[in-house]
Amino acid sequence: MSISKITLLTIFIPIIGSLFIPLAGLISKRTRSVWAVLLAGTTALLPILLIPQAFSGTELIIRKALFPGFDFILVIDALSIFMSVVSSFIGLLIVIYSLGYIKDDANQNEYYLMVVMFIGSMMGIVYSANLVFLYLFWEISAICCWRLIGFYRGKQQVIKADKAFLVTFFGAALMLLGFIAIYNQTGTFDLTQMRGLAVSSTAVLLILLGMLSKSATVPLHTWLPDAGVAPTPVTAILHAAVLVKIGVYAFARIFCYTFQLPDFWLQTLPILAVVSSLVAAAAATVEHDMKRILAYSTVSQIGYIFLGFSMLNPLGVTGGLLFILMHGLSKAGLFLCAGVVEHNTHKRDIRELGGLIITMPITAITFLVCALSVIGIPPLGGFFSKFMVIAGTVHGGHYVAASLALFTALLTAFYLFRLFNAVFLGELKVSIVEKTPAMLFVIITLAVLSLLAGIFVSYPARFADVAALEILRYVK
């Protein structure tokens, strides 16, 4: 199979295949589950085949002429392959986890349809080199999220789903306006033709709003904690692994890879990122709902990725990319652990939980491992990403931002362990044992991967390096 074919299949297998999930659901539940896992599995496998291409250090551009300015363009380089490998893999894990998690709920057909389509749209975002198609896949993912957040159909759930959809759509629509402003300037939506172009501050602001809303960065972040009403696999996919990474990916692709940021934004972005990080960390320290804490934690960590990317130096960008991987693994792990707890105890308030390490040791240990990785303690993967981001920040001369970021890391340690202590340690309040092997399998996998990613960090780091080089080719 040629590389372009693999890429096209990566995008369209899940999107088109997902439409058949309800049909498969008509046959039997089993068929549907198998089909969904198969789709996710294929999607996870295909990008791996592209890794050699990534290391070759060249980029491949596929063009399908449609309508002047609206051509369907795919860019296959280390960055896109990196993102697709990471997100499709985590997507697969989450689909497997869902097998256990939602097996007793209604509307499962829709659920799998939306999850798989979401993964597909993510692939689309990652490979698109045309701003319009980027936006298109972007909104497909928003639609999927909307359905998924409201999955339980309660009034609150649906309101929160609407909130999430509206806030992200608000941002995205403004981003579209920004794209159009760029189109007005250049006459094309083709990113590959605009590399090294200087763009106006207004366009940057508009586009940035879209990214911030999608990546749930202050001040457009509050939909993310509220979206915790969704089933846990969804929150994991939303908060941790994939959705919020869309924004940062787009940042890398648009502002690092393609355009030149105006000086004003180069100075402002790190501040924005750090403030976002800090505010969210503070909120996570105050909250009592397990998932809200984790969601705020995600907001906080996303700030680091933005920080890394906004430095536009090799260290920062490599750090940001690694962060995407490490955070994806470990935060998904955290959410899924929380999901195991919630699934078994039906409680989310940490004040009502306690001592679960006795009855749920595996969950507790995996939670701990993932938490340590998120905090950034070696030898777990999170350490390297955080280190490189900080190093990049310091090399960029933003000393205050770096120290605030480290303070946030400390806060992270504080609230994650507050959560850990409240849920798993202390007095046992609800005595429930772990069940559902599919869920345990996934969380263990994630924890082990967080560890392995730390020990064998050189492999992803080399990958990220190649990608960072490619991204920064036109940066002065």
Binding site: V218, A282, F387, I390, S403, F417
Partner: protein
């Protein structure tokens, strides 16, 4: 496959750690652990013999390599790390026998060894951080093995040391930015400007690990909550070794600072404060382990003070003190463990007169206690004297005085401890005790032996272990030729001895006042007017950096949450919807369904249109 020998100290513990998980029987695990630690010790010994080696493997790029380098100083540290590990493991075979989580315990111990060895050998700052930070986790896990409440202490240790580690990280990154390199042995800077900030940050990391104030608060708590072997293993020995090792390296190799430079003053101040306040706290403790743990903090002060003097004598003294302290403090903790094992408690009030039933433990305790108090001819005396001299040379007498004050109360508190536990009247509160079996005793004996050996033969450790630290500093070496014949009869040594006498006096007074109850010996000092209130505040954790920090963090978080996060959410949840509702309400009122109303709009619209069109056409001309 050819594995470089430098990798052995790192890989061996890992292998033993992982393999240990597959063992079933408890006995087997014990043997396995002893075997493992012996193997690593042997390996370290071999490396100590080699002295010079290095290994560079590509790792992350950007100048971040997997870079190990062995030279005289870290070979010594490596050796000592593994000696302590071996002793503690040997000791643990009995002490931890009752624990249900013995497998985990050895897993963490071996991982700790791995990380410790790695950080000693690492010659790249990132690699160093990698191993250094790993210790955080193992420490956390080891403390978690303690009693039910230990998780709070574990968290405390994690947060405090995490703070230090993050400072260290920032310092390293700054250093990287300034010097452009991450290779520890290749960097050489003056500690000025940004470099000074970087130095201070790295210093915080180092002294934090060593347990200096204000990052010490977890240690006394851990003494109560964590298993005593853990205390002996980490806060008492390994962490001191590593922390001071790092401090030495950055003070001697990476950065240079002159005597009495600002950096030096900062270091000495931290050292002096740590000495005095920690020892004051130690003095009034009524639990043996807690008392020891405060001393573990207090003694760090000496090392920092020594290194901070910037004088050759002080630096060497500081490093030597690190080694000595590791030896005797481990010995002390082990003896407290031995007491606990036999008597089931370490509260001084309940204990008494154990010397008869536990002679070996008592003896070892006495040797170590005398060492720590700086009594001639034990090792503590030598290193402390060097530090006194060093600090005296700086001209800032206040630091020397602080060190002396520390010496007074150190001795006083150990007099109290020894008196109330091993000597004095036999306690009735505990059942008949017996001396422990040999794996418990052997480590203590060895350590006590070291205390005496290094005290009498101080030239031996200095030559073997300490002076390599100064390789590359010939001018320092030249000055140090006299050190081995420090005479007993010089003013400073005399004052030190005077201090010991004062301490004895204090103790005597205290016991008398406490009606012969040795554990009350410190009460007179405790009850002094102003000091009493300070003590009360301290007991209520007012000075607890962690507790106050947590309070501050919580407050800060709340403030941010309610002033930034919630208002933003309020905008989405309320402002937008309410404004929308108001506008909609107005519009709906306008659309009242009356035909006349609608008709008039249409006609008015037409009029307006006609007018606008007219003006626009006029304008267009």
């Amino acid at each position: 496959m050819n594995i470089d020998i430098l990798l052995f100290p790192i890989l061996l513990p890992l292998i033993f750690a992982v393999m240990g998980l597959f063992l079933k029987s408890k006995k087997l695990i014990n043997y396995w652990a002893v075997l493992g630690s012996a193997a690593v010790l042997y390996c370290a010994y071999v490396l100590f013999g080699i002295k010079q080696a290095s290994l560079v493997l590509p790792w992350l790029g950007h100048g971040i390599d997997f870079d190990l380098k062995l030279y005289g100083f870290n070979a010594a540290i490596l050796l000592w790390v593994n000696i302590f590990t071996f002793l503690v493991v040997l000791y643990s075979t009995i002490k931890m026998e009752t624990s249900t989580r013995i497998k985990e315990y050895y897993l963490y111990v071996f991982l700790t060894v791995m990380f410790a060895n790695g950080s000693v050998l690492a010659d790249n700052f990132v690699l160093f951080l990698f191993f250094w930070g790993g210790l955080l986790i193992t420490l956390y896990m080891l403390i978690m093995l303690g009693n039910l409440n230990s998780y709070k202490t574990a968290l405390k240790s994690l947060i405090l040391l995490g703070l230090c580690d993050f400072c260290l990280l920032l310092g390293v990154v700054l250093l990287w930015k300034i010097s452009g390199s991450l290779k520890i042995s290749a960097i050489s800077l003056e500690a000025q400007g940004l470099a000074m900030i970087s130095f201070l940050l790295i210093m915080i990391g180092a002294i934090g690990k060593a347990g200096a104030m204000p990052f010490h608060n977890w240690i006394p708590d851990a003494a109560i909550d964590a298993p005593v072997t853990v205390m002996a293993f980490l806060p008492a020995s390994l962490e001191k070794l590593l922390g001071i090792y790092l401090l030495t390296r950055i003070s001697l190799d990476v950065f240079h600072f002159q005597m009495n430079s600002p950096v030096s003053i900062v270091l000495m101040t931290v050292g002096a404060i740590t000495i005095v306040f920690a020892v004051m706290m130690a003095l009034i403790q009524k639990d043996f382990k807690r008392l020891l743990s405060y001393h573990a903090v207090s003694q760090v002060g000496y090392m920092i003070l020594g290194i901070g003097t910037g004088t050759p004598l002080g630096i060497v003294g500081g490093i030597f003190h690190m080694l000595n302290h590791a030896i005797y403090k481990t010995g002390l903790f082990l003896s407290s463990g031995s007491v606990e094992l036999a008597a089931g408690t370490t509260e001084m009030k309940k204990l008494g007169g154990l010397m008869k039933s536990m002679p070996v433990t008592g003896l070892c305790f006495s040797v170590c206690a005398l060492s720590i108090s700086g009594v001639w001819p034990f090792n503590g005396f030598v290193s402390k004297e060097m530090i006194f001299h060093g600090s005296y040379e700086t001209g800032y007498l206040i630091f020397t005085i602080a060190a002396w004050v520390g010496a007074i109360f150190t001795f006083a508190s150990f007099l109290k401890a020894g008196h109330s536990i091993f000597f004095g009247a036999k306690s009735t509160e505990i059942p008949e005790v017996k001396e422990n079996s040999w794996p418990v005793l052997v480590p203590m004996i060895i350590l006590s032996a070291f205390c005496i050996l290094f005290g009498v033969y101080s030239i031996l450790p200095l030559k073997l272990f300490i002076l390599p630290a100064l390789s590359g500093h010939p001018e320092v070496l030249a000055e140090l030729t006299f050190t081995h014949n420090l005479s007993l009869l010089n003013p400073i040594a005399l004052i030190s001895m005077g201090c010991l006498v004062i301490a004895f006096g204090l103790h005597y007074l205290g016991v008398k006042k406490g009606q012969g109850k040795a554990y009350l010996a410190s009460e007179p000092v405790h009850n002094l007017p102003i000091i009493k209130t300070i003590y009360n505040l301290a007991e209520n954790r007012v000075f607890d950096f962690y507790e106050q920090g947590v309070k501050l963090i919580k407050l800060l978080s709340k403030v941010i949450y309610y002033t930034v996060d919630r208002p933003i959410d309020f905008v989405y949840e309320r402002v937008v919807t309410v404004t929308g509702r108001i506008v909609i309400f107005i519009l709906r009122v306008l659309h009242n369904g009356r035909f006349a109303n609608y008709l008039s709009w249409s006609l008015a619209g037409l009029m307006a249109l006609g007018y606008v069109m007219g003006t626009l056409i006029k304008k267009a001309g």
